[in-house]
Symmetry: C2
């Protein structure tokens, strides 16, 4: 990532010369940027794509790149029904649970959100098929993958909506690399002008107040680019801007696995031209390894797969507080439960604790697992020959971070409580039934359970008694973002709107840099990327129809 600092986002006037003139400028080279560039280009537009970092791909490159496409072609071919009304009910129910009303118009959710759900349902598959047909992104159908809330009555198509880049490996973890390679290859092939190391700082507006370009800082100085039709931001969220996180998110997250260049640039840039912001309080969330976040590790991956059967999470008192195998977006929120009686986040850090069995059989360097194989960086792993030694080691490790955790320490009787917690868990594991948190009872939990020892508890492969003998292992976990969900409000054509819901002429946004209608929800694996393809498709179509604007 180029170390070019953010400067004023106040829009620049049109006067002065431009370094390039095109029809459509795209900012950002993750899936949203590349897809919008491709679709724009296929409409016959001259397209310039600017990327702040030195490498293409943004957060997408780090993603598994599952993509959630309701009623996709493979489902239709297989005869799997995915009725529009039910699919939208599923999206609405999970996004706005507190106002969801199955009997109300729009299921009780705001018209804006409903319109976005419809747009996703109606366009994600069309976009997917076009990308595939043009050999920009071919896919394979993962019909065995369940939605994260497959058990809800609203989910009439609980399996079948998830696709994956065709050439991704068997474990489905490297889809992002594959997709970025494939899509950026197609973009170059089809004539998209791609430039890295360009940090867009502000818009250029003409005298009518229309957006007609951008100014970017590069290692070689300031550049100005003219967009005759539209500027489309696809710059990701604000996961790595501490101030924005503090001021908008509903939880005090320590970071996340978005690309380090996701610093909320578009919040500042669009804000400076009067964009309305929306859903600023929400994020795509996942547990993260706390010490990797503290180290600002650019390779940080969210703990999508909480592997290990003889493994539990305990809080500073030594108690389990949740089902460890909860889908990642839901698990992440457990860390931010607030205790008003004590004015503290009692679960701000949880300690994953496991034994040699899980270490031997459930280690992997994929999906952000905290149980890692020998030879991998394991600086985050705390070890102890006995529970007493492990407790002491955890206590010592926490001491290092006291200044940034509000002084979080283990309770004096942590070790004793931990032993009791393990005994109770072991009873549940032997019986196959978690009477406290129902671990292992939902489909998504099995999907992310990872490898376990060859002879797991027959009835529930997510649990196995933790050994009475050491060594034991632990890792500090907290909640983080994949990326944020809030940003300028767009209509379904991707046009950014002002305080009166009127489009700001020439300005578009797609992806995590603009508001997501998913609010609280993580509908399924790929619920980020599938909808992005739909909106890239719609934004490119609308941008293509824009009249050319006066450059003064």
């Amino acid at each position: 990532m180029a170390a070019i600092a953010r400067k004023s986002a106040a829009p620049a006037a049109a006067k002065g010369k431009f370094d390039a003139e095109v029809d459509v400028i795209i900012i950002g080279s993750g899936v949203a940027g590349l897809a919008t560039a491709l679709f724009s280009c296929w409409h016959g537009n001259k397209v310039l794509l600017l990327e702040k970092a030195s490498q293409l791909g943004g957060t997408t490159r780090k993603a598994a790149f599952w993509y959630w496409v309701p009623n996709n072609a493979a489902m239709r071919a297989a005869g799997t029904k995915d009725p529009k009304k039910d699919c939208i009910a599923y999206m609405a129910r999970l996004s706005r649970p507190e106002i969801y009303n199955p009997h109300a118009p729009h299921f009780g959710v705001p018209a804006w959100e409903y319109s976005h759900y419809e747009a996703i349902y109606d366009n994600a598959s069309t976009a997917t098929e076009l990308l595939s047909k043009k050999s920009a992104l071919e896919y394979r159908h993962c019909d065995f993958v369940p939605d994260y809330w497959a058990e809800l009555p609203e989910d009439k198509a609980p399996n079948g909506r998830v696709l994956l880049p065709k050439d991704a490996r068997e474990t489905m973890s490297d889809g992002g690399e594959v997709a970025i390679r494939s899509m950026s290859g197609a973009a170059k092939r089809d004539g998209v002008d791609i430039r890295t190391g360009h940090r867009v700082q502000r818009l250029v507006s003409n005298s009518a107040g229309e957006v007609i370009g951008v100014e970017a800082d590069t290692a070689k100085g300031k550049k100005r680019f003219l967009a005759r039709k539209a500027v489309v931001f696809c710059t990701g969220g604000f996961t790595h801007d501490v101030e924005l996180r503090k001021n908008y998110l509903s939880a005090p997250v320590y970071g996340g696995c978005a690309a380090r260049s996701n610093e909320g640039d578009f919040i500042y840039i669009a804000g400076a031209v009067g964009a309305q912001l929306r859903n600023m309080n929400y994020a795509w969330m996942c547990p993260i390894v706390f010490e990797k976040a503290m180290a600002r590790d650019p390779g940080l991956i969210g703990t999508f797969s909480p592997s290990g059967d003889s493994m539990i999470y305990v809080n500073k008192e030594g108690r389990r507080v949740a089902n460890e195998k909860l889908a990642y977006n839901e698990m992440a929120q457990v860390f931010f439960q607030w205790d008003g009686a004590r004015s503290e986040y009692p679960n701000l850090l949880l300690m994953a604790v496991w034994d040699q069995r899980s270490q031997d059989h459930s280690a992997s360097d994929e999906y952000g697992r905290f149980i890692v194989p020998p030879g991998t960086d394991d600086a985050h792993v705390i070890k102890g020959a006995t529970l007493a030694a492990l407790s002491k080691a955890i206590r010592d490790r926490l001491e290092r971070y006291k200044g940034v955790t509000g002084g979080l320490t283990l309770a004096p009787d942590f070790e004793k409580t931990l032993a009791a917690t393990i005994a109770r868990f072991n009873g549940f594991a032997s019986g196959g039934k978690d009477l406290d948190f129902q671990r292992g009872e939902r489909q998504v939990e099995l999907l992310f359970n990872g490898s376990v020892a060859p002879s797991p508890s027959a009835s529930n492969p997510t649990m196995f008694p933790i050994s009475e003998e050491g060594p034991y292992y632990a890792a500090l976990l907290t909640g983080g973002n994949l990326d944020t969900k809030g940003g300028p409000k767009t209509n379904v054509s991707g046009q950014v709107v002002d305080d009166q819901d009127k489009p700001i002429a020439g300005l578009y946004g797609v992806g995590n840099c603009v508001a997501s209608a998913s609010a609280r929800a993580y509908w399924a694996g790929g619920a980020t990327i599938g909808p992005i393809l739909a909106f890239s498709y719609l934004a490119a179509a609308a941008a293509n129809k824009e009249r050319k604007k006066l450059a003064k």
Copy 2:
């Protein structure tokens, strides 16, 4: 409130005639507006105050108007020590518990917040004394009132920081009426031009981009006003703008007790000139009577005093989930605990349940109590001769609201669980010790306990066994706002800053319409108004020093 709709906030150009020309324009007539107007006027400025509603006073008129003034003159006179460093530590600890660090510079909180805590400590008393000396707001010292976290080791002055308008009644509940009468009287006396029914829609900027006035809509059409020195917004938060609540707050509140005119006007107006927003996720919170919020009752007062000793709150399953006597800001957050395993807010509504004893001895129409005396509007009270009848009546009442509560209903065995909950609570009440939630163990709980029957449990007056015989009563509660805390970021002089932390020339804000550095915290009763007086004082001083601007 005048029913003038919000229109475009895009700033207007200077050209055209003005209906009045003054030095300083103040928008809003709550405590922030009146205090800033008074201080400005005492600097010798010509001041115009515009109020959107038909009545002066905004939210302040509904408030008890306790004001929290660290190291105030009465404390100093009494020899009560309130060291600055400890007072700021107390503020920091509660505002940002997750990063508070007693050993770090600024206690680990951002420099911006620290600077605001300092400004409060250094100026609230000065402002208070000046208002008193000028007979605009005389006070009495409530040295018996504890801070809400009086037990924290950081609180070295747990009693004595709270003041009250001198002529407020014995129960201290009508301070707002008294203060507005007194302050607006002084403003008129001292020549402030006060106009109601003026909805400011947008700023007026000169060609240098400086703010030089406002445009307002009135029943008699559009008016334009020139401010030679400064425009100061004191327009309150966004409690009554559903869209802003949804897009920014960390909890899905149903409303609150702010004046109905608090619709976030300044978010739109300042946003249109590139103001940076801050702490948008936080609010001053309190439980509210759900049905009053649903009825959009303009007289809604937060449940500051959860009165009744033979009274408990239960959730839809019939279980207690919190200490009912928790200070209101903390109690309110209990309603928004999230259950990720079920994708629901299990406590979104809690049912307060009480018996005839509490009805007879703890009823009052002050401080938003839900136990109200005969002859008062009790539409929110649900009654039943037996627990079975009460349960049935609650069930029926909830049915009415299913469409706006995500279908919230009582669990099938609610009645049985409620009976068991009451039995357990009664045991605690008899012994004077709440083993589940420590009810009655903190000073603030006694402060707000209200009247109880003449012979309460000797050791703990907050608890008494609920009668085994009916009638029983219930009320639906949820969490709400006093008002919101987020808005444009200001420096300690009240100047609104842009994305580069540079003041937007001529634009100021004070009170709930701008960002509060208190973040999560409610330090004490009056922690809203005390700091507002400090910032009114500072903003007026800075505005007074502004050079006069070109009106073109």
